[in-house]
């Protein structure tokens, strides 16, 4: 193929392509999209990522950007400290739904209300992946988890939280969108939303958040190739895709 040119390779901001996440997981695709954008926008040298705790905590050691590892739920306050003392840095948080919406809901709400000028990214797979498949605040009604056997029930387990809509109604948020990485067109939109969120931060407009629905076939108890269909069928109706605030 000597006459062919390489048109797609994994971004060099990924120091190693091998990782330990499950077959069919959506998080690596979301991560790669973020890193591609950072590379293309020339932000690597000023990027500080604040990482939460979840399956994606495997990423910091393979991402060639500075990362501050935060506690479960606490990335928004840590990112606040970072951005306040390094206003020229490009700061984004990386959290899961358990991290942001269960453990750390107060943190993200206040950071958004204050209009902190960083970008919050939440990978929402509606389940605690790393602990092995337990209910989070975004587990949808009827969804089977190890703590909602028989399906999440409104009476027994309460209702799921739409974090993006919550954030959007706060005056300090400037850009809020929800994407999914279960289809090529979804990935393309995720990339667009992330790009617009990053621009919002770079233009100093306020808090930006992108919720990315990701597949977790392992803890949805479906084969990996059924992940995208499960996401489309169960998550998208509850968590509609699109730009919510800009």
């Amino acid at each position: 193929m000597s006459h062919l040119e390489k048109v797609f390779e994994t971004t060099d901001l990924l120091l190693r392509t091998e990782h330990s996440l499950c077959p069919g997981c959506g998080e690596p695709v979301a991560l790669r999209t973020i890193l591609e954008l950072i590379g293309e926008l020339g932000l690597r040298e000023r990027t500080i990522c604040v990482a939460g705790i979840g399956c994606y905590t495997a990423f910091p050691m393979i991402m060639d950007v500075d990362v501050l590892q935060a506690l479960h739920g606490r990335a928004p306050s840590v990112a606040t400290g970072v951005k306040r003392v390094r206003p020229d840095a490009f700061v984004f948080t990386m959290q899961g739904d358990g991290d942001m919406v269960s453990e750390g809901l107060q943190e993200v709400l206040h950071a958004a209300a204050r209009g902190e000028k960083f970008t919050a990214v939440v990978f929402n797979n509606a389940v605690f992946g790393e602990t092995g498949g337990h209910m989070t605040a975004t587990t949808v009604l009827g969804q089977h988890t190890k703590t909602t056997i028989g399906g999440r029930d409104r009476e027994r387990h309460g209702n799921p939280i739409r974090i993006a809509e919550l954030i959007a109604q706060l005056d300090g948020s400037a850009y809020v969108a929800r994407a999914a990485v279960h289809t090529p067109s979804g990935i393309k939109l995720a990339r667009q939303y992330l790009h617009d969120a990053f621009r919002t931060q770079l233009d100093g407009k306020g808090f930006s958040l992108v919720e990315i629905l990701t597949m977790c076939p392992t803890d949805w108890f479906v084969p990996p190739d059924q992940g995208p269909a499960f996401l489309e069928r169960n998550l998208v109706p509850i968590y509609p895709l699109g730009v919510i605030k800009h």
Binding site: M1, L4, E27, P223, G227, P228
Partner: protein, 76 residues
Amino acid sequence: MHATVTIDQELCKGCLLCVPVCPPRVLVMSETVNRKGYRYPLLLDGCTGCELCAKVCPDFCFEVYREPKPRGAAAA
């Protein structure tokens, strides 16, 4: 041949996400398994270099190659 992909078979975890998104349907799963124990995609003739397999792959197995556009053609 106008396009192709390379597949790092040892990175693959056999999730199959690449197979259905391939428009010309030129990815098929192997009969044998890699060192991790997963079947992995094999490329048949007819790749268009559309990159969709690479975009959806969670394990970063794919690189995509295409024939350069002829000089001057881009202006058209």
